[in-house]
Amino acid sequence: MIRAMRILASNPLSLVGLLLVLLITFAAIFAPWLAPFPTHNGAVIDFAFANKGPSARNWMGTDLVGRDIFSRILYAYQISLMLGIVVLAIATPVGTAIGLIAGYVGGWTGSILMRIVDVFLSIPPLVLAIAMMGVLEPTLTNAMLAVTVMWWPWYARLVYSIARSEREEGYVLAAEVIGAGTMHIAFREILPNCLPAIITKMTLDMGFVIIIASSLSFLGLGVQPPTADLGSMVAEGARYLPDSWWLTVFPGLAILVAVFGFNLLGDGLRDILGVDE
C-alpha cells in the first residue's frame, strides 16, 4: 500500500487522474448539495434566464429553457458513473468467468466459448448498441443492457489469454496433483493472478463506457430528457453552435475531464500493479 502510494506520487499524471476521479465522484455523490439549482435536473422552465452565457449566477450559462448547466452537469455525472459502474459490474464477472473457463479447460469447451466471444467482437460495438436500442425502448436500463452486451467479450478475451499462459505454470500442476477441482483451480488459483490486469482494464474502461453511453444519448438512444445527461446536453446544444457555445462546450469538457481522469488513473494503476499489455 505504501509502495503503491509512492509510485502514484512519483507519477504526477496518474495523481492528477486520481484527483479528477475523486473530484467527479464527489461531485456526483453530493450533486444535490453542490448544485446551485438542484431542481434543474428535471423539467424546469425559466424563460427569464433562457440561453444565457456564463455569469456569476450561472457559472456555465443556462440552456434553452433556462436551466443551470453547471447543476445539470453535476447530475449528469451521477448517471454516467452509475452507468459505468453497473455495466462493468455485470460485464467484468461474466467476461472473466467465461474467459477463465475457456482458457483453463481449453479443448472443445474453450473453442466454443471463444468463438461465441469472437462473434460478439466482430460486430462494431456502437452499431450493436444502436441496433439493440432500436429494438428496445430507449431508457437508462436498456442503455446499460446494450453497453453491457457489447462489453463483456473484451474481458473474456483478456482473461482467456492470461489464463492460457498461467495454465502452464507450476502451481497449476501442483494444484492438479493435490486433486483440486477444475473450478477451484480456475477461480481460486488462476483468477487471483489475473486480477491486476482486470482491475487496470476496468479503470481504463470506465472512461470508454462513459464515452459510449454519452454517444448513445447524443444519438437520442440513451437517457431521455428531461433527465440531465452529458451526451444529450451536447446534442441539444450542437444546433446552436457557435453562438451559444456554452451549451456544448461545458458538457463536452465534462466528458473530457471524466474520461481523461479515468485513463490517467488506469495508466498509473498499470504501473503499480505491474501489468504489461
Binding site: 505454470e169 507450476g170 502451481y171 500442476l173 501442483a174 494444484a175 492438479e176 496433483v177 493435490i178 486433486g179 483440486a180 477441482g181 481460486r188 488459483e189 487471483p192 493472478n193 486480477l195
Partner: protein, 289 residues
Amino acid sequence: MTSLLDIQNLKLNFKTVQGQVEVLHGIDININAGEKVALVGESGSGKSVTARIILGLLQELRQARISGEVYFDGRDINTMKPKDCAKLRGTAMSMIFQDPTSSLNPVITIGQQFTEVLRRRNNKLAQAICDEQATRMLNDVAIPDAQRVLNAYPFQLSGGMNQRVMIAMALANRPKLLLADEPGTALDVSVQAQTLTLMRELVNDYQTAVLLISHNLGVVREFADRVYVIYQGRIVEDGPTSALFANPKHAYTQALMNAVPRIVGTGLAKVPEVSDAFLAPRITHSDVT
C-alpha cells in the same frame, strides 16, 4: 506384505500426427508401504510420465493410450473414474516438484495454500486448526518462525524455504505415497542435500512410501532403499540400492554410474591463519598424466 503400489506391464502410447509413439514398453514397479524407491534414468526415458500415470493425470489426456495395471492400495487407477482418482490425489498420494517456487501460487499466502491442502481431506476444518497443523508441519521441516512464513507469499521466501514448505504441504495429509519428481533440482546442491535429509527423516516418521524420480545418482544412493533403472521406456535393472551400486549388471546402469564425476583427493589442507604459508597457493599444479 502386499505392496502399496503395484504396476504391471504398463504401456503408454501417444497418438501424434505421425502416428503412434510408444513411450513405455511395459514396465513393472512395485513399492511396499513405507518403502523408499528410486526411479533413475536419463531425460526422456519415461520417468515423469510414469509419475503422472500413477497420479491418474495422464489418463485424462485424450492422446494418451495406456494399458496395463496400476494398483494403488488394491485399486486399479487405470480403470478408476477420474473423480475417484482426484479424491486420492492430495490425500492418499501427493507430489513434490523440481522447482518449489513456481509450484506455489505467487499471489496466495503460504498459510492459505496450506489451509487448502488440509481442507482437501476434511473440508470443514476450522481456520484455527488448519493454522495450528500448518505450524506444526512447518516446525517439522525445520522452519522455526512458522507464523511469519504462513503470512508470507512464496516470492518472499528463499528457494530452500519454499522447498521445505512444499515438503510440509505434501506430507500434511499423511499420504501413503509421495512422488518426488527430481525434488529441488532447481536449487543449489547444498540446499538440495539439506531438504533431502529432512524429507527422509519425515517419511521415516510418517511411514510414507516414496517414489523418488531422479537422474542424480548421488541423491538416489543417499535416499532410496531400492532402485529401478529405466531406459527408453523399459525397466532395465532393479534391486536394493547397495547391491545395485556395488554391482551394476546392465550396460546402461554401468554407463550411468561411470558418468558421475568423482571427487578424488583429500580436499584442501588447513593452514594456520598467521603463517608464511597463508598466502601461498593452496594447490600446486603438477603434470599428472
